[in-house]
Symmetry: C2
DNA sequence: CAGTGGTCTAGACCACACT
DNA sequence: GTGTGGTCTAGACCACTGC
């Protein structure tokens, strides 16, 4: 017998001529993981809050503590939850100092982000417009749908270092404006959580070396023919829904993009 | 009582005026993990081979299967071991098709590495010389120590795409030559394993956008003022010993560096 | 079939944080 | 002390591989 919960029955592939890639046995802890994920999506527990204790979840789902534990372990290793011994398990948030700028891999050549102090932010532009085909595809929208477009410059030690263009689905980010962005102190992804209930969980980046156009060169006050790192990022919420397309241009004469390979 | 093995006793900080950062409690499974790591370093089990079963290790170390399991889990998540249900647990290797080019994050804009087929390799240069201060520092050598320097070009679909310079400690890579490199078919890291007993476990990369010099431009047959991605990698063996410094220059007009953020 | 890793359970105890 | 997550154990059973 396959230990089961009410279990979302395996979607017994209707068509028979497809290779039918196995009945897919799903361990109990994966099912529990799915249930916890549903609660996270439904905002039953909000970012920063604690979720019920392992014992409580175990009795709620009628499984042993060890099974809940393994489910939580996987969610924690994906940075969706954060375990704190003696205190509880918490919904991860981009607002915590430890994990702030988790997705920003640009670091100064000397020292680190702490020695450098916080970035100065300048919102250059923030407007609503219709999605181009390319942007619509990246955000899983229909082209012509409304998107919010933001352009901003980040400076470190008063040296403009990052120019970013970003696009957000218009419906999910209804009240977003340049003022709102300028007034908020803290990571942009933290604002997205508190103001719009959108939590970014993972992202994919495509990195290239490019030469900036005139507008970009002026915004970053660059000497001529300085190459830039182009970092195109798509960020996803819980159900792998893309919620942000971001194109960053990084100066790499004083900073570098740092990546650890395992 | 702290479950202990013969246990490498906590190094009871000799000086008393240092802040003494806690006695450091080490769980049993971490100690087991350390023992397994030692066996890997000592090449008791070689890349590609299977290690003893969980039950066997459990009785060898006098702990329960669950404890061994947790130790192996961590090593497997670090890609040091590979678990195969029903078959056993194996020492990871760079020779397997699944994980070949694990550290190469450059992918074609369209399709993937499979559609593109294998890279053509050309060894431009391979010689022994004395380490500069910079290279010595990266490889934890003394400047003046002998290093092997290799320069090669990788082409995809007959388009030169990657130019790489790399430096290796001379002592560990004694018999390495241009012929040896040219004759070997397969990932360079696989050759390092079989011929020199050096297995790369993790790496750190620093990425920048740069303009190539004349020599680089010619080797890659580039049109003028094409910016390149500069990827500086330090690769480490088991005990966090740096064993390779590699500086790659990537064309990013047909390919891009892909990175997944979690 | 036997052997391997994978899942699940139940219970004991430890380390840590708060009060 | 109480409650939380973290470790360890012992045993049962499942899923996969290969003989």
């Amino acid at each position: 017998m396959n230990h089961t919960l009410p279990q979302t029955e395996a979607p017994a592939a209707a068509a028979a001529d497809s290779p039918a890639t196995a009945p897919a046995f799903s361990p109990l802890y994966q099912q529990i993981k799915g249930l916890i994920l549903q609660s996270l999506q439904a905002s039953e527990w909000k970012p920063g809050e604690s979720i019920p204790s392992e014992m409580e979840l175990a009795s709620r789902y009628r499984v042993s503590q060890g099974t809940v534990r393994k489910a939580i372990d996987e969610l924690a290793s994906g940075h969706l939850l954060i375990r704190k011994q003696g205190k509880g398990t918490f919904v991860a948030t981009h607002a915590e100092h430890q994990v702030q700028y988790r997705f920003l891999k640009l670091v100064p050549d000397q020292g680190d982000l702490n020695t450098e102090g916080p970035a100065q932010r300048e919102i250059v532009d923030c407007k609503r417009l219709r999605a181009s085909a390319e942007i619509a595809r990246a955000l899983a929208l229909r082209s012509g749908d409304t998107v919010v477009q933001v352009r901003r410059v980040l400076s470190f030690a008063n040296i403009p270092t990052i120019l970013e263009d970003l696009w957000l689905p218009g419906t999910a980010f209804k009240g977003l404006s340049a003022e709102r962005l300028a007034d908020y102190h803290g990571p942009m992804y933290a604002l997205f959580e508190t103001e719009f209930g959108v939590r970014m969980v993972r992202a994919e980046e495509k990195i290239r070396a490019v030469l900036p156009d005139k507008a970009q060169r002026e915004l970053l006050k660059l000497p001529p023919s300085t190459p830039l790192l182009s970092v195109e990022r798509v960020a996803y919420t819980y159900n792998d829904t893309p919620m942000e397309l971001r194109r960053g241009f990084y100066r790499t004469d004083t900073h570098h993009y740092r990546n650890d390979l395992n």
